[in-house]
Amino acid sequence: MAEYRTHMKIIGDILATTRDDLQDEDGASVTYLIRKANISHSRISTILKTLVSQGLLEKVDNQGFNKYKISQPGREFLEAYYTFTNFADNFGLSI
């Protein structure tokens, strides 16, 4: 059975992919993120737009294609996300 993921977990998965699992140094393409984060195109577009506007991801124009890299605030957010995921796990909850 598929595991239910919260919105926060999906964001965590996207940021983790752009930090730890990049295709190349230019960043990750939308198609790559869709596959890695296992999420639909329409949903990831909205999330990526939000993450870029919040400064957690950087959009890089690569020969006409958009690629995404994690920013320094994004790295800090991801660290906080892991810390507080563990904190909430202690209470049997997911953030």
Binding site: M8, Q54, G55, L56, P73, E76, F77, E79, A80, Y81, T83, F84, N86, F87, A88, D89, N90, F91, G92, L93, S94, I95
Partner: protein, 212 residues
């Protein structure tokens, strides 16, 4: 003896609740997670409830000197703690707790206005017991899914708080017995168990930021 234990219990409850509440609030500010927001409300309420009861005892000891805490202060403190326990249970998706009909929901509040403050205290204690037992069971079930050892400690903590509430309530049947001091010792143990896994969360790199 009872006075000393009451003071220790209320101070430990206030400090543990405040520490976990602050940690949850930092988590909420950093991640925007609604779960952490609910946890921060829960533990700030629990902390405030213990603080109010402790203030009541201090007021009695230094100002009124009547020999017993003002009943309404005790009831208010317990009610605020119960609200905190509700938010812990609510975080575990306690959705079927209230009747769906708005008529039944409105009628459900009426008994609270028809009973004296002593009976209200019993109602709040029994509701607290149910919420704490629910939280303990849900947390233990999550341990079986995730195998996170911290969840055992939190489940034991919530379980001990529930047992403490039950024994404390039962001591009304046998006043002057050892049951009430025992209930306070059990609750102190529960609060310590709650704090153990939370104290291990590394917060040195955490900071408040402006991410909305």
């Amino acid at each position: 003896m009872e006075f000393l234990l009451e003071n220790i219990l209320n101070m430990v409850g206030f400090l543990v609740g405040l520490a976990i509440g602050i940690m949850s609030h930092i988590g909420f500010r950093n991640t925007g997670s609604p779960t952490l927001f609910r946890l921060s409300i829960a533990f700030f309420s629990i902390s405030a409830g213990f603080f109010i009861i402790w203030s009541g005892y201090m007021l009695e000891d230094f100002v009124t000197k009547t020999g017993s805490i003002e009943r309404w202060i005790q009831t208010l403190g317990i009610a605020i703690q119960t609200a905190g326990y509700f938010f812990i249970a609510f975080s575990h998706s306690i959705k079927s707790f209230f009747p769906k009909s708005s008529y039944f929901r409105s009628v459900g509040i009426i008994p609270l206005f028809l009973v004296s403050s002593v009976q209200l205290e019993h109602i709040f204690r029994s509701v607290s017991f149910i919420l704490l037992a629910y939280g303990a069971i849900e947390t233990m079930l999550s341990y079986f899914e995730n195998r996170n050892k911290g969840a055992i400690s939190v489940a034991v903590g919530l379980g001990l708080l529930a047992l403490g509430e039950f024994v404390g309530w039962y001591s009304f049947v046998f006043p002057e017995s050892i049951l009430y001091p025992v209930s306070m010792i059990i609750k102190i143990g529960g609060l310590v168990a709650l704090f153990i896994p939370v104290s291990k969360v590394p917060l040195t790199k955490m900071k408040f930021d402006d991410l909305e």
